[in-house]
Symmetry: C2
Subunit: 351 residues, 2 copies
DNA sequence: TTGAAAGCGATACCAC
DNA sequence: GTGGTATCGCTTTCAA
């Protein structure tokens, strides 16, 4: 094994004819270095093709850990728990490099975010992983973090594109809707008369899902029609009631796209009405209570947004950024998965 | 910031009343330690909840890198290139911990594996990531690696379950077939008369896909029928010819499941015959040349086996094993993805 | 069988 | 501004 030609701060110091301390200062632009020596040092570094040894760096600067704040909703059974697990599991892999997570969940989406963010500001974090519930409302704080406090903000599962956040990680909502439409079109024979159940069209994410769905349906089935767009405001009772009305009004309905995780009331309404199985339901996300409906065929398929992977990706991007100096991409889109009966058991929410 | 209570070899040594060297020997079972002192040391370690600092370890033992051999087919456009990228990208993330990859591709699946393995035996690798082309043939070498040479063998993309390999990573073939059947059943209205195109039924992987397909089709469509199982021996011309015959013989055919990546001749045969679009094709894997057929609807969907993720997972499992002492699972199953027109662009083979 | 001390490659601090 | 040196936590000699 040919020993690699030696490179390292030591060698740089020797070549540049200066001391270790000076090399460090020059390399890191710590300012108390004369322009001439800095140039000498940088030249020597380049000449050697210097690549810092991350292990040694982590060990030497172990006292200064990289702390990442996490502010996402606390939930017992659903989506955000998976996000959290993805974050924590991945962070553990880098704990030996000094990565540390400060987990400060909020009780629910859009509740207490500002206070949590302010708390983190005081805790000396270098980055924050955040699920903005009320985009507009927290934007000023995100901007403060990024601009005034030099804290990188990564949004997961939801975005605040008007803010100065560094990165957003998500499944593109438009694509989400398009995929649902394609599945629905391919699964329902005959004329497509379909409905969409969403949360609130005022929510950017929800609206874009509906747009994607409509556009793709049009492409797959030019004769298809969206006969209703129901807003359920994420309420089970509202969804149930409106769905029953819909089914009564539209006996020829061929499919329903539920663009949020609120699919259970839709399923119940279908069972009530005797339309389960005939009306194809394309749902969103996956959790234990939805499993029976997938198994009995009421839900034909579900679009899975990879919550665990979203959390994992957030940490990976930040690690690459802080430890390797990689750029943070403005957005990081994930490929949604299709949940069917056959592959159901392989999703971590179920298995 | 409350400083963590100190733990570390130093502290263990103090408590056990021995020296650093002794602690190290005891902790690593280096044998030249009396049973009594070893017990003292281990007790102290347990009492402190000792967790070794991986950074320091990597730094101190920088000379002894962990080398992993990779023996997979070299291919320009397809599956194994993705596997390779997954391996190399992930390995790079751990280079600072002394992880090193020795990439020794074979020209094609099942060609020159034995020679490549023997070469690795001489290169002092601690693990080998392998795609066994002729399971039976390399089994003795795998066993030699595992038992005589203390080398962990991880199979990706293909398995040799009769050998002593530590881990196999794959999408379960049975599930692969089942998922294809569910998609096909849900996408083709009317009576299901379907065909399967496979490589060779003698190949375990291929046979199990067909089994899964048959079983799930039966569940989804009890009246459905598999009217033909075509073996193409991975030859384009053979596949094309047999498909044309099939289409002539079976005018009522409703779907074809192509369980290998050899879907292009099937598509051409369908176009030739004028049956494209009407006969639903469920394909396997994804590569550039298949894209037009997905876009024009000849291929209704494809089952994606996550080659990149397979490579990535192999490295992660090995890192966890060598660096954290985690057990290697006997098998590691991945969840296949469903490729449709709408999400096509998000796969790395295409985008 | 055990102990003492010398690294590993960077950072950080204190003198000058 | 710059140089010297201790330090991070562990592994690995070399002596005893």
């Amino acid at each position: 094994m040919a020993k690699a030609p030696k490179t390292g701060v030591r060698e740089i110091a020797r070549i540049a004819g200066v001391s270790l301390g000076t090399v460090d200062r020059a390399l890191h632009g710590r300012a108390e270095v004369s322009e001439s020596t800095r140039k000498k040092v940088l030249a020597a570094a380049r000449q050697l093709g210097y690549q810092p040894n991350l292990t040694a760096r982590a060990l030497a600067s172990a006292r200064s850990t990289t702390r990442i704040g996490v502010c996402i909703p606390r939930e017992i059974r659903f989506f955000y728990d998976q996000v959290r697990d993805g974050i924590l599991d991945e962070a553990k892999r880098y704990s030996h490099l000094g990565l540390e997570v400060l987990y400060q969940p909020v009780p629910a989406l859009g509740t207490g975010e500002s206070a949590a963010l302010r708390r983190m500001f005081r805790s000396n974090v270098r980055a924050i992983i955040l699920t903005p519930g009320h985009p507009g409302r927290v934007a000023p704080l995100i901007d403060e973090a990024e601009k005034a406090r030099n804290i990188r903000v990564v949004c997961v599962a939801s975005d605040d594109s008007a803010s100065a956040r560094s990165t957003a990680i998500s499944v593109e909502p438009y694509l989400n809707g398009a995929l649902a439409a394609e599945l629905m079109a391919k699964m329902s024979p005959g004329p497509a008369r379909v409905a969409v159940v969403t949360g609130m069209l005022a929510t950017e994410d929800h609206a874009r899902k509906v747009q994607g769905f409509a556009a793709e349906l049009q492409k797959e089935r030019p004769e298809g029609q969206i006969v209703a767009v129901i807003e359920d405001h994420q309420e089970e009772s509202e969804s149930y009631r409106k769905c029953l009305q819909l089914l009564k009004r539209e006996p020829e309905l061929s499919g329903i796209y539920v663009s949020t995780a609120n699919c259970l009331p839709v399923c119940r309404a279908l069972r009530e009405n005797g339309a389960a199985g005939r009306v194809k339901v394309i749902a969103t996300d996956l959790f234990k209570d939805a499993v029976p409906w997938l198994e009995n065929g009421t839900i034909a398929a579900s679009i899975y947004q990879h919550p665990y992977l979203q959390g994992q990706s957030a940490v990976r991007l930040l690690v690459d950024h802080f430890l390797q100096g990689a750029e943070l991409p403005r957005v990081h889109y994930l490929n949604p998965a299709v949940v069917l009966r056959a592959n159901l058991r392989l999703f971590r929410e179920v298995g």
